[in-house]
């Protein structure tokens, strides 16, 4: 899994932006979304991303895995990640 060819990622104070330069659409990410995309950029797979986030964030309601899965599905559906 990696960012799609025409997608650029830049971190900002509020989180980050993803810029899909073919459609010229900009997506803003909150800090959690930013953490996930940072892991994608580093080459992590979905399971590893969830594990790393569980180590960093409070997961008392066991939602992280589900949210990571849903977020990545959303990125895929928008053509922002591939592979």
């Amino acid at each position: 899994m990696r960012l799609a060819k025409y997608v650029k990622f830049r971190e900002e104070k509020f989180g980050a932006v993803l810029f899909e330069t073919r459609s010229e659409k900009v997506f803003t990410l909150n800090p959690t979304g930013t953490a996930i995309v940072r892991e994608i950029e580093a080459g992590a797979d979905e399971t590893a991303i969830a594990a790393r986030l569980k180590a960093r964030f409070d997961d008392r309601d066991a939602a992280i895995e589900r949210e990571v899965e849903s977020f990545i599905a959303d990125l895929r559906q928008r053509g922002l990640v591939e592979g």
Binding site: V17, L18, K25, E67
Partner: protein, 333 residues
């Protein structure tokens, strides 16, 4: 924990704005830099906003060291999207060196050209260097209308250039400027763009400024003809959905500027001499790459949008839409 990817920008217009509701105020640097690298052009188009043409290069255009410095700053600050336009950008003596420098450091670079220098070799070189897309102006589906707009231009050369891009595997975008004499060809031009392999087609309203002021009687399209024009585009957008993106900007200039006053796009427009415009459709200069760094210019850009003279100019445009003829009388903020 909550995650979010929120789409915040409208798709591009001409030039494509990046930013939308991703307020410039929130960002550490621009998202898009549209750089007119030279004012020199082989053509003398009736509608040219920049009044480019043969012999029209600015006397003080940035030298090689200066253009490299600008590129390096843009990439150091992670500007994700960059375009080179003009004039005709491929006439810049350092064109390929600039492309190479930008692409080698990961820039997503678009070239906006009139298509007259798209030889097979040049297209192959752009592909090899990693150009993201080439946008070509195609103001008609036939030589007569195209060449009426593109004075000194050749429809056949442009179409061959587009074919060369496709052969080389460089993604193609098409830009169309409507006028009295070509608006009825819009449907055929969209079809031609698809046939030539474009993935995006852009158009909007032609602006009364630059060369268009003198040629307005040939260019001006009455509102009722714009209605027909946009109706065809709506049909074409539907027809090519999923295959080629047909984007058209129906809003008039005043609506666009009023929106931008509240939501400045994270877009810098750099002129060939390094001056930076607030937005193409206003006369305000908010930076100078010969004297200022990108962070300084970006800070001033954000302040400048709050300058009362900007809103006053937009109000004055509402009273006198013809005031766009003065856009080249620069006002420094």
């Amino acid at each position: 924990m909550t995650t979010a990817a929120t789409e915040t920008s409208a798709p591009g217009a001409i030039p494509a704005p990046a930013g939308g509701a991703t307020e410039a105020e929130d960002l550490a640097a621009p998202l898009y830099v549209a750089w007119q690298i030279t004012n020199e052009c082989n053509l003398a188009c009736l509608h040219c906003i920049e009044e480019s043409g043969p012999g029209k290069a600015f006397a003080d255009e940035l030298d090689t060291a200066q253009v490299y410095s600008v590129i390096d700053q843009l990439l150091e600050h992670e500007v994700p999207y960059l375009s080179f336009s003009g004039g005709e950008p491929m006439l810049h003596p350092q064109f390929f060196a600039m492309v190479e420098r930008a692409c080698a450091r990961g820039a997503q670079l678009k070239i906006e050209t009139n298509g007259h220098y798209l030889s097979a070799d040049n297209c192959a070189q752009m592909k090899e260097l990693g150009v993201k897309a080439v946008q070509v102006s195609l103001d008609g589906a036939a030589a007569a209308s195209f060449q009426k707009m593109r004075v000194r231009g050749s429809f056949d050369t442009t179409v061959q250039g587009l074919r060369n891009l496709r052969t080389a595997g460089v993604p193609v975008e098409i830009n169309f400027s409507p006028a009295r004499f070509n608006a009825r060809e819009i449907g055929a031009t969209v079809d031609l763009a698809y046939e030539l392999g474009a993935y995006s087609f852009y158009t909007g309203r032609t602006m009364y400024t630059g060369n268009a002021v003198k040629a307005w009687r040939h260019l001006q399209l009455p509102d009722e003809e714009y209605e027909t024009f946009f109706a065809v585009l709506r049909e074409k957008a539907e027809q090519y959905r999923g295959r080629m993106r047909v984007y058209f900007h129906e809003a008039g200039l005043l609506d666009e500027l009023r929106y931008r006053l509240q939501h400045p796009a994270a877009l810098l427009i750099v002129l060939p001499n390094g001056l930076v415009k607030l937005i193409n459709a206003l006369p305000f200069i908010c930076g100078d790459f010969r004297r200022q760094s990108l962070p300084e210019i970006w800070a001033n850009f954000r302040r400048a949008w709050q300058d009362p003279r900007v809103a006053e100019f937009v109000d004055a445009l509402a009273a006198d839409p013809g005031k766009t003829r003065t856009l080249h009388e620069w006002v420094y903020l």
